[in-house]
């Protein structure tokens, strides 16, 4: 794994942008862009990033950024890629940087189409499990029992297992990442950069606004997601699946931290603990965590 020292010094996410305190999206993007070293055109649909990149005429990203409509990220990227091809600049990476709403929900069709056409783009979903930008409404990525501004008493369904949908498109490269593990994330972007074809990286990005935790706890929560086995870090090159070293040990449920440690830190799950501890729902949550492991390994490994 890359050391922090080995990462390029140059910053592509500049200071003074409009992100919230403790925004993990910017942490993830910072390391992603370092890995791509500027030879990238970034396509951003409606999402937090379309706002926090700053207000015209200022811009915090030192790469070309094409903002586009909510459901159109992968289609827009297809057009950018086609133009680069015609212009003989095919080596430039076209990267979609989209939220979970723009990926799991409204953007799924364009993503599916672009991948089926084997378009050489890197599609990144930074997943904060909610429509954060519009004030925290539930999305297809919102987990079971999470409170949002459209599920006040907690969501009654677990999130879509989106990685399986993407995997069914047989991308040349697919990985999960987590903003709390920037070195692992960097390595994955590095690897994706050098492979041609449809690529997908799915990043777990805690959001202090929507999840209701103290702004300084983003990395802690990100790590707990992995340590409790809730979020699995893996990559798949072609059909070769590999658990990332960090997640490997948590394949064994006995080695995982109790899921409560992850849930209890977040206000959005407060109803699982207050006024009384809801054992039934906690048990259901545990079942889902194991279910994701089972399905992921059975399907992708």
């Amino acid at each position: 794994m890359v050391t922090a020292k080995e990462m390029p010094q140059r910053e592509y996410v500049l200071k003074g942008n409009a992100s919230c305190a403790g925004c993990q999206d910017m942490v993830a993007l910072r390391h992603a862009l370092k890995a791509l070293e500027g030879d990238v055109i970034q396509v951003v649909p409606a999402c937090c990033t379309s706002v926090v990149q700053s207000l015209w005429p200022k811009e915090c990203l030192d790469v070309p950024v094409l903002n586009t409509a909510f459901m159109a990220a992968a289609a827009t990227a297809s057009g950018v890629k086609a133009a680069l091809k015609v212009k003989g600049r095919d080596s430039t990476q076209v990267m979609v940087w989209a939220g979970d709403g723009g990926t799991f929900d409204i953007g799924i069709q364009a993503l599916s189409g672009a991948f089926e056409r084997r378009t050489d783009i890197l599609y990144v979903c930074y997943n904060n499990q909610v429509y954060s930008n519009t004030g925290t409404q539930r999305s297809g990525a919102t987990p079971l029992y999470a409170q949002t501004s459209t599920t006040w008493h907690g969501k009654t369904e677990p999130e879509k297992l989106f990685d399986l949908i993407v995997a069914a498109h047989e991308p040349v490269y697919q990985a999960t990442a987590n903003a709390a593990y920037p070195r692992d994330l960097y390595d994955k972007f590095r690897k994706a950069r050098d492979i041609r074809g449809p690529k997908f990286i799915h990043i777990f990005v805690p959001c202090p606004q929507a999840w209701n935790y103290p702004v300084e706890k983003g990395v802690e929560i990100g790590k707990l997601a992995v340590e409790t086995g809730y979020w699995i870090l893996w990559e798949r090159v072609g059909d070769k699946f590999e658990l990332s070293p960090t997640s490997k040990r948590y394949q064994d449920p006995a080695k995982r931290k109790p899921i409560e440690e992850f849930l209890e830190m977040q206000g959005r799950f407060s109803r699982l603990f207050k006024p009384t501890r809801d054992e039934k729902r906690l048990a259901e949550f545990r079942v889902f965590v194991q279910h994701r492991w089972d399905v992921t390994l059975k399907t992708l490994a």
Partner: protein, 407 residues
């Protein structure tokens, strides 16, 4: 119509080559002539044969650009937006529901000031399913900022598409252009037209160079981020300005085109026997071609009538409309589509173009030809004579008449 290839050559051009094709095939071949770099399209009747022919031209290496076989019209226009933002000349074709699905993207393209060209094959919108011509699809996109042309022959379709790139890419305009052709009447009707090899078109249309911004890692810029109330309105004003400029820039485009290739389709309003006419018949699309025969017959019968075929619908040719209103005593304006709850869109625009002037011709609005219902020479004569009667009696009668409406 300039359907005769030799006529073009005599008037000045070399290189015109007579081909026999449907409007859709001609549109597909226009992408070769205009050296389009990216086509993204999705099948929909009756536009389908445009992407079919582009696919074949692409697979045979005749069309040299990229062809993206997208999964929806929404994606088609956004792929064009991505391509155009990266400096490529982009084109798509669609109809009806497909154009409606693009609605969000149409606004996006014009506000991003991207010179994309769209060949729209006019078709009724649903329900009920009807694949034949009504102008409701493009009329309902009137306020998206797109420049709109309506044409009346295969030849005019092909050449207007080529002209559209020149117009759209002009720095004074930088607005996307939609060229509308009546579904089936033109899209599937084979007719001779004058083809131009790309080497010929090069003399008219230089490669597209985005004048202000482009996606380029060597010079990173961001496009489309947040603009607050302090500036937003000014961006919109600039769009309006660009759109209005299209009126005079198109005159230059047509002048150059005529000089180089000898082709001219009549400006924003194609006039036939309008000079001394008391009554002008106004329409969009193929009805305007049919109308010339109606005018000839009525002239033979002693009526002073003319044909004012509206080619440019946005920007609306206000100046030209006023020139015509200076002389004409009445307009019979035929709309093959509707602004529901108000009336014929072209009739409404014509009326409001004249309100601030002292010209007060009688303007009668006729609605008809929906769902591909035939509008024949007899129908057109009936409409013109109805207006003629009103003019003679001095009595306007109904402002709006649904032509050929079942009781």
């Amino acid at each position: 119509m300039h359907l005769d290839g030799t006529q073009g050559i005599q008037e000045g051009g070399t290189g015109l080559k007579t081909e026999l094709m449907s409007a859709n095939y001609a549109a597909a071949h226009a992408t070769v002539s205009a050296r389009v770099e990216v086509v993204a399209a999705y099948p929909i009747t009756p536009a389908t044969t445009v992407p079919e022919e582009v696919a074949l031209l692409s697979e045979e290496g005749i069309y040299k650009g990229e062809f993206i076989r997208v999964e929806s019209e929404h994606s088609a226009m956004f792929a064009c937006i991505g391509a155009s933002s990266t400096g490529a000349r982009a084109f798509t074709a669609t109809s009806s529901q497909g154009l409606l699905l693009m609605h969000e993207a149409l606004h996006w393209a014009s506000a991003a000031r991207l010179p994309i060209v769209l060949a729209n094959v006019n078709r009724s919108v649903s329900p009920s399913w009807n694949i034949h011509v009504t102008h409701d699809d493009s009329y309902s996109q009137r306020d998206t900022g797109w420049i709109q042309f309506y044409i009346s022959s295969v030849d005019e379709y092909y050449h207007t598409i080529i002209q559209a790139f020149k117009l759209a890419e002009d720095e004074r305009v930088l607005m996307p252009v939609m060229v509308n052709a009546d579904g089936f009447v033109l899209s599937h009707t084979v007719s001779p037209f004058d083809y131009l090899e790309p080497e010929e078109v090069d003399r008219f249309l230089p490669p597209y160079k985005p004048p202000h911004w482009v996606m380029d890692p060597d010079n990173p810029v961001a496009h489309g981020n947040i603009v607050f109330p302090e500036y937003y309105q000014e961006f919109r004003y600039a769009m309006h300005e660009g759109s209005l400029n299209a009126y005079k820039v198109y005159a230059e485009v047509e002048r150059d085109y005529k000089r180089l290739f000898g082709k001219y389709f009549g400006g924003p309003i194609d006039c036939y026997k309008c000079e001394d006419a008391d009554v002008l018949f106004v329409s969009l699309g193929t009805i305007g071609a049919e109308a010339k025969d109606a005018i000839d017959q009525l002239r033979d019968e002693g009526y002073k009538v003319g044909n004012a075929r509206l080619r440019m619908f946005r920007p609306f040719p206000v100046v030209r409309a006023r020139e015509l209103a200076k002389k004409a005593k009445a307009f019979a304006c035929f709309d093959r589509g509707l602004s529901y709850g108000f009336g014929g869109p072209a009739a409404g625009d014509l009326r409001s173009s004249l309100y601030a002037t002292k010209y007060r011709p009688m303007i009668k609005s006729y609605i008809g030809g929906f769902g591909g219902r035939d509008v024949t020479i007899t129908d057109i004569k009936e409409v013109i004579l109805d207006t003629y009667k009103s003019l003679e009696s001095g009595n306007l009668g109904p402002e709006e008449t649904w032509h050929d409406l079942m009781e």
